[in-house]
């Protein structure tokens, strides 16, 4: 069974941790072998008819996620670092509900051994906005994650007036 948490660490990062009851080599393989990745990537009831990983710095990531209603959501990215079996770093485009890229996210996933289990730590950071958002990039340097966390709480408590 996995245990996990999600929290904002530094202001601009979103951090998710999980402990998997599996050896580190196996978890690393699950993240880096396209056949394995296709088995779990995406929300429940999604499949991944296309899953291509060019596992080296600069190598491309191409995943076509298919939702339960048949809609295909292409996702592209680029590996920045691959350190077997402890770390992978990649950039990817964050898409909105309609599949439009909103900004680029740098994701770092590290794997550490913990009494025969594997602790996985994922850090995600917004690094680039879409062209129309470019004038605001400078302003995005910090603070977004914490803002989001706080505002999510705010919105939750003001849900009534939002409808």
């Amino acid at each position: 069974m996995a245990t996990g948490s999600i929290m904002a660490s530094e202001e601009r990062e979103l951090v998710l941790t999980r402990v998997f009851d599996a050896p580190r080599d196996l978890v690393f393989k699950a993240w880096t072998d396209p056949n394995c990745v296709a088995m779990w990537w995406g929300p429940h009831r999604f499949t991944n008819p296309v899953c291509e990983l060019d596992l080296r710095p600069g190598g491309a990531i191409l995943i076509h996620m298919r939702g339960p209603d048949g809609t295909v959501y292409p996702m592209t990215g680029v590996f920045q670092e691959v350190v077997e079996p402890e770390r992978i770093v990649f950039t990817s485009a964050a898409l909105d509900d309609k599949g439009t890229p909103m900004f680029e996210v740098l994701t770092t996933v590290t794997f550490t051994e913990q009494n025969g289990k594997t602790k996985q730590t994922m850090r995600a950071r917004v690094i680039k906005m879409t062209p129309q958002a470019a004038p605001y990039v400078a302003g995005m340097e910090q603070g977004w994650t914490q803002s989001l966390e706080r505002l999510t709480a705010y919105v939750a408590t003001h849900a009534k007036e939002l409808r």
Binding site: W40, T130, G143, T152
Partner: protein, 122 residues
């Protein structure tokens, strides 16, 4: 009213400044005039006005039309857009990791059946 993605970016940019977040936190408790908003901050009125303009441009606040008062009010719609994105993002990874967990358990069970199971001597 649905917001386009670049609105989300504008909202995020407006929220990236701690002073503006503090202003919003103040307005979350009720509307206030510029003077009231400026009171806790060690900055000039023009500086506060500049922050208010950014917030207004992002649609995070509205300002009254009365010339003398122009009270500021928080508007929640853009915040909902941001909250939706965070929720979407969380769900994507949380569900993916649930599936990864199941997958890892399956693979290990199969490994044991085929005589390769050397992990965890349950």
């Amino acid at each position: 009213m649905p917001l386009a993605p670049d609105h989300l970016s504008t909202t995020l940019a407006a929220l990236s400044d701690p002073t503006r977040r503090a202003i919003l936190a103040r307005l979350a408790t009720g509307q206030a005039t510029v003077t009231e908003i400026a009171a806790p901050f060690a900055m000039s009125m023009p500086a506060v006005s500049r922050h208010l303009k950014v917030l207004e441009h992002a649609g995070l606040i509205t300002r009254g039309r009365e010339a003398q008062w122009r009270p500021c009010r928080i508007t929640a719609e853009p915040l909902k857009d941001v909250a939706d994105w965070v929720a979407h993002y969380r769900r994507f990874w949380t569900e993916s990791f649930d599936r990864l967990d199941d997958y890892l358990q399956d693979v290990q069970k199969k490994g044991k059946k085929h005589g390769h199971g050397k992990h965890h001597g349950e």
